[in-house]
Symmetry: C2
């Protein structure tokens, strides 16, 4: 009697093939009976091009939900939304223990509280070599520098060997807040031999070595000192180190510091509770700030990506909590613009330009540094960890491919495993053992909607083509009654100024007067006829092909 | 008896406060009776965020249409869509002579032909010192280098003095195709003294001197030579010089050249007709290309901005005219990504990555140069032209403001005059004399729609919120008849899986059963009641606030 062979599997459900909504499954056990852990459960952000009206994009966790009895726990590497943001939304479907370091755990508990879930589900774990047992896995949080405090790589021990899952990271020797990257500690973690390094790929195309957070502060000080009016800076609220550098520069210039925006308050509250802001300058409330001379004031605000409702955008449109930008003020983007947000950010810059506000950006590389390891840094980490296999994650397909090529060029196996690719890692060499259907789930208002449910597709079609609604009545003799009603949303009038609805009603009246009773008695035929008629008029008159809804009411003799 | 004082005015209708849809009016004569010329008539491109379904964005020329009897002519500086693209669409409303240099004129005639308009409206003008009289204006086309052949600044002589309107330009001493920037020629044009330089501002934030088109070719040659499979390159079709550099590099590597994409054919046809492609390598047709070994082939294709229907995007999705990309092929973006197009371009890169195609971009600045003057180049031109006033154009507000500050820092007057600002230039100093309402006109299918007509706003709202249609009947006693019908587009089901339309019908049945006959007899009251009821259900069940259309049919006793 031979026991079924046990194996170690890796399955990304999100984050491998995109930057956002990270969710990686590891499993160990007999095939089909592996015990599972989930690493990270993040969100992605919607856009008008593909997901209008959607609030948040989540990974589709159907595969996990079908195997809940085998899922041991969720481990969260750090507090960014693309790693932690899904915990509040999806915990109700998982109800499994969540492990994280203390700052991340604080944020995770807030997420659960917002959704009325049990905060006790979250357990704080100290830094490696402290570990947590989860089924066949032993997991430790290996500190690493990133653009948020207490980021961690995971040291995942399995009967088949050790995996290091990098999380997001950079090699920062002086990160201002939180731990520096410690090559000795990483070398120690790698010492027993590492089966696979599952590794952040975001900046694989950046050829120069990454820069330290500590390089920003010296540039901020003269900038703030030389400013005359109010000084306002925006950055990612979670970049606590940057908040401190900005605030320190403000204080050095004799300014009071005021933090504005909901995310800013939430982050600094959590950081303060976890003892990360002990030497942060004292701040003033927006109410008190309003009474200070503007040249003695520095605001640090949310909205570096141009988000419409964040503080930056509101200040660019007018008053925000009593504060208002004026000619002679300075506004600093201590941030980079994430691809896709360029137009929104430019809109804010132009609004400020119209007010006479001087806008300073990071175009010259002075006021921002990336939180991710660049190509030479990745080479360094490959060298320190010296894994048998590098599995690139946290990147679009082109990043994963380039990172795998980099690994191969350094003499290691590199495997491109996009979302849904199940790898077995326990054999002689990693190999693809399954392809799992993955996708996106949309939080739309309060509802969770599948990517292919058609809800968002219908909205996109109405946005592109407009919507024509036709209501008509059929009497109990299957005769079309007069007064067919056409209502139009989002279509232009005809070239001669005639309302398109009138032209459609006229056309339909003609069409319907010629309808025989067999067609009139068949909803589907009638709908088809009307849709064609409506589209013909739209095409002829305005060159559009609208969405059409036909409402047929049949009067029945009562 | 004193004649009314004559004046020289400048009025941007588009292009000043945005990059796109350039349209600048100059006028000379007694106030309110100035004779007018229009410089450029371009388009801007729509996006899902603000203009879903729109085909093209045009400047609103209502101000000009009210003064058509005073408009003498249209002058087009060069053939880019943001300067020439509106000519075909708006000529029918203007019917005025169009002047341009021969390549631009060729393209303008094609635009008119496409719209069935009279191509004889376009007159070709030779380079300055050749001039055209247009009322009180004498206009010459001063050659300048840009990223399309035969770009020109306009030398506009008026009784009040000379204006130089730069058009789009760079200071290129070796532009490969077309004239180099000739500082002596410009100095000669400026010699009599220049009242105002109206000047391109696109690259005012770029601090290094601009690079020559001729710097690209030496980098292309080794890249193409080292490639193994098929080599495909995309760039702006209008950049004829780049097409030549690419094709030359292909030939040097022993490859046959095939041009693909509609814009590519149109541009090279026009360039060829005007004698600009005399030393362009012989090309093969897509049909012949398909039969050549792929390592002997170079395709030059449209779609550098990720346009869904262009050749690049089609190749990234599968076959295009029998050609297909494969592992080992190379795809080069010899272009920059215009802000807003990042996601579309990345989608193509990732598709190619999945195919195993090596994608090369301009990230390292090797394979593209900008067509616009950088900050030091602008300083040079200010110096050569030495105008009394610099009026920045062709830029967002922040570009105009920065450019005006640059002019001031060099000891000249700089005036920020965004769209709709009428400046008098003939007084002692330029001053704002009027603000004119300007805006955007959307070409939507075949219809021209005003920016504030609500058509596109309605589409955006449906995209964000979904659309609920309610049809109900009122009998001739003002009683609501049963079977109120709710139809839904773009809204999710309720959390328990119940169709939202059913829940709304149930709710409305309750509401309507309690309606008194006064409300039932009043369409507006009834509509309001139903809209509220629908929105309440949507809010309670899915957290959305949909658009609502209510169709009330009243049965009348006949």
């Amino acid at each position: 009697m031979s026991a079924k062979r046990e194996r170690l599997i890796y399955l990304p459900l999100g984050g491998a093939g995109e930057i956002g909504m990270n969710a990686y499954v590891y499993g160990y056990g007999p095939e089909g009976k592996e015990r599972l852990i989930l690493v990270d459960l993040g969100i992605a952000f919607p856009d008008m091009d593909t997901t209008p009206g959607v609030d948040v994009i989540l990974p589709d966790i159907a595969w996990l939900k079908d195997r809940l009895d085998r899922l041991e726990a969720v481990f969260v590497t750090h507090g960014h939304e693309d790693h932690l943001g899904g915990v509040g939304h999806l915990y109700p479907q998982l109800k499994k223990p969540v492990y994280a370091r203390k700052f991340t755990a604080n944020l995770a508990r807030r997420k659960l509280a917002e959704k009325g879930q049990d905060q006790n589900a979250v357990t704080t774990v100290g830094p490696w070599p402290e570990t947590v047992e989860a089924g066949p896995f032993t997991v430790g949080f290996l500190p690493v520098s990133h653009s948020i405090p207490e980021s961690a790589a995971l040291v995942i021990d399995t009967p088949a060997g050790r995996i290091i899952h990098s999380g997001d990271f950079k090699l920062d020797a002086a990160p201002i807040v939180g731990e520096a990257f410690d090559p000795d500690l990483w070398a120690e973690a790698a010492k027993p031999g590492v089966l696979a390094l599952v590794c952040d790929s975001t900046n694989v195309f950046s050829r120069h070595p990454g820069r330290s957070e500590s390089q920003v502060a010296p540039n901020l000080v003269p900038l703030v000192k030389d400013a005359t009016g109010m000084f306002v800076a925006t950055t990612f609220a979670s970049n606590v180190a940057r908040l401190k550098s900005l605030a320190d520069a403000g204080v050095a210039a004799g300014r009071s510091i005021c933090l504005m925006g909901r995310a800013m308050r939430r982050m600094t509250e959590a950081a303060s509770e976890e003892g990360l802001l002990n030497d942060f300058p004292r701040t003033v409330s927006p109410e008190d700030a309003a009474s200070l001379p503007r040249e003695n004031l520095m605001l640090i605000v949310t909205g570096s990506q141009g988000e419409r409702r964040a503080a930056s955008a509101q200040l660019s449109r007018g008053k925000y909590f009593g504060m208002e930008m004026k000619e002679g003020d300075t506004f600093l983007f201590s941030s980079k613009t994430i691809p896709g947000n360029e137009k929104e950010v430019a809109r804010i810059m132009n609004n400020f330009s119209e007010m006479g506000v001087d806008v300073v950006t990071d175009d010259d590389g002075l006021y921002h540094v990336s939180g991710h390891a660049n190509r030479p840094d990745l080479e360094t980490v490959h060298g320190i960890v010296n894994p048998q296999t590098v599995i690139p994650m946290h990147g679009e397909h082109r990043h994963l491919r380039e990172h795998a090529k980099l690994a191969e060029s350094l003499g290691r196996t590199g495997v491109v495993a996009p979302n849904g690719t199940m790898l077995e890692l326990s054999g002689n060499a990693p190999r693809v053992v399954d392809h799992v259907e993955t996708g996106r789930t949309y939080l739309d208002g309060m509802a969770l909607v599948g990517q292919f449910d058609g809800v968002v597709r219908d909205r996109l079609r109405m946005a592109l083509n407009g919507h024509v609604v036709v209501a008509l009545m059929i009497d109990d003799d299957d005769a079309v009654m007069e007064d067919t009603w056409v209502d139009i949303r989002g279509l232009p009038d005809a070239a001669n100024g005639a309302p398109l609805a009138d032209l459609m009603e006229q056309h339909l009246a003609g069409v319907l007067s010629r309808v025989d009773s067999r067609t009139a008695g068949d909803d589907e035929k009638l709908e088809d006829l009307i849709t064609k008629g409506v589209r013909k008029v739209a095409q002829d008159e305005v060159g559009k092909r609208p969405e059409v809804t036909v409402l047929i009411t049949r009067l029945t003799a009562d």
